[in-house]
Amino acid sequence: MEPQFKPVADHALLVTFSDTISEEAHAAVIALDQAIAADVPDGVIETVPALVNLLVSFDPIKTDHSAVESHLRTQLEGLESRKIIGVDRHVQVCYEGDFAPDLEAVATATGLSQEAVINAHLAGDFHVLMYGFSPGYAYLSGVPEPIQVPRKPAPVRGVPAGSVIIAGPQCLITTLTMPTGWSIIGRSPTPIFTGNPDHPFLFDVGDRVVFERVDLKTYEALCKETTDGER
């Protein structure tokens, strides 16, 4: 994939692999992101991986667009295998009662039983595509086709943090009380904000996410553990 380099203001470069979403483009984004992390070009401050492109932001006092571009071009040459080093992350979900206000609607829309929707969700092959919208909002690909449902016509307000929500092929675990038009099918006790200063967010872009079902009692016990851990 031949990337396009576009300057963004005085302090960033956008490297785009494709105009449309594809696994190949996303794999290229992650491979470049990981290559940069392993060998940070002079003056580069941070990178932001997204679906088809990667933003590389830099200090314009120390470097400029063309110096960063030429460094990245060299890095890209060595990236033919595009091997992604993602980690498996386990996330518990409770699909019961008030935690899953839209489970019934998803079941109705897809012609499945609620139990079948849950099992399909658990069977999904989820990967972290990118973060966006709000702090810690990791967009996951991999909702199985039989349970893909469109966004609601209007967002619902005050959806609690920890909600497991789906829309189309994407799934997300919310980290804040926020409005959402996605379908709420469960609640997770697994903190995305880890509280660990060395690794403050549970996922890195490219990680695989495995959902595990827990009942209400386990959910509550896990929540308590987290809260106690923070003390």
């Binding site: 576009k6 300057p7 963004v8 203001a9 005085d10 302090h11 960033a12 956008l14 785009t16 105009d19 449309t20 979403i21 401050i45 941070e46 990178t47 932001v48 991986p49 997204a50 679906l51 088809v52 492109n53 990667l54 933003l55 932001s57 314009p60 006092i61 400029d64 667009h65 990118m130 973060y131 966006g132 919208f133 709000s134 702090p135 810690g136 909002y137 990791a138 967009y139 804040l176 200063p197 403050p200 967010f201 872009v205």
Partner: protein, 333 residues
């Protein structure tokens, strides 16, 4: 050293704790936040002789009223043209003064500007998140939004009489059109839209907060209805929604989004952009990416020089009087 305490008698909306921000977390959906006007924020600390980047209070047009309940501390107020009332005296922002126990300090919207900064000679305490006190307004993470009734604590509060008085305002910032680098999606817009962007005036709308500033003006049409994959956004990105209305993303911007970006305001012009108010006019002019880098370097140099200058203590009143006398003495000879 002693601490100083204040009680917040009144805080308007969007009055927040801000430090230099938390860069490096955009990949996790976290904008850097930090002050809307970074130059004015830096000036407040410099004028007090503080190290740069510490916590201060960003004051919106809603204003802030404090009462000192304990201790004595020198403070600096910068940014825009706000009205400052202290112990019965009225002045404008860009001033350094000492607040004593029992005294009131009020900072209100004045003739111009949208954001003022209040820094203390000491360490202003607040919550931190990801190692920074900067408030991310929509989540409330970081130091947070100030509330009426809240107490403020300044540790190691110092009195720096030799720094009291007016703070010279920066004069180097350009006051013309906002400089932008076109793109990264300028190719999706009609030629007319590009002409409008660079030749017409826009007006700051009332949809303006720490996340961004929506502009009224000519519609910026795309060549076709367009849906681009969500991609990274930075401070200064001008994204255009489906109805052709541009929004400049600012300190608490979303980190990714699916609206095309017609252009990006260069970093050294975002400070003065944020000081505009609803109804004020704005123009854009295009520069090349290399011109943008040159401008950033030039601006950084001038900014460093300016901050150095205002960080020199002018001397206490007694010292200043003595200096004046000496000068007069020489003149009389």
């Amino acid at each position: 050293m002693a601490s100083a305490r204040f009680s917040v008698s009144f805080a308007g909306p969007l009055v927040t704790f801000q430090d230099a921000g938390r860069p490096g977390n955009m990949r996790y959906g976290v904008a850097a936040s930090g002050p809307m006007d970074r130059l004015a924020f830096g000036a407040a600390h410099a004028a007090l002789g503080n190290k740069s980047g510490g916590s201060a209070i960003e004051i919106s047009l809603g204003g802030l009223m404090l009462q000192c309940t304990e201790g004595t501390v020198t403070v600096a107020i910068t940014g825009g043209d706000f009205v400052v009332e202290h112990a019965g005296q009225k002045t404008i922002s860009w001033t350094t003064l000492t607040v004593r126990k029992g005294e009131k300090l009020a900072i209100r919207a004045g003739k111009a500007g949208s954001w003022a900064y209040l820094a203390f000679a000491g360490d202003l305490a607040s919550e931190t998140w990801l190692g920074s006190q900067a408030t991310h307004a929509s989540s409330g993470f970081g130091g947070g939004v100030l509330q009426s009734g809240q107490a403020l604590v300044v540790a190691d509060a110092a009195v720096r009489e030799e720094r009291e008085g007016e703070i010279a305002q920066p004069e180097f910032a350009s006051d013309g059109a906002m400089r932008v680098v076109l793109g990264p999606q300028d190719q999706y817009f009609t030629a007319t839209a590009m002409e409008h962007l660079l030749n017409e005036q826009f007006t700051v709308s009332d949809a303006y907060d720490r996340m961004g500033m929506r502009l009224n003006g000519p519609v910026l049409e795309m060549q076709s209805a367009l849906s681009i994959p969500s991609e990274p956004i930075i401070r200064g990105s001008i994204q255009v929604s489906g109805d052709g209305v541009p929004t400049v993303l600012l300190a608490d911007h979303q980190t990714t989004g699916g609206y095309p970006k017609i252009a990006t305001v260069i970093s050294c012009d975002t400070d003065r952009l944020t000081q505009l108010r609803v109804g004020q006019k704005i123009r854009f002019t295009s520069v090349s990416s290399q011109q943008a880098v040159d401008a950033a370097r030039d601006d950084a140099q001038q900014k460093a020089k300016y901050l150095d200058q205002i960080s020199i203590a002018r001397g206490t009143l007694a010292q200043r009087l003595m200096r004046e006398n000496l000068i007069h003495g020489w003149a009389d000879d």
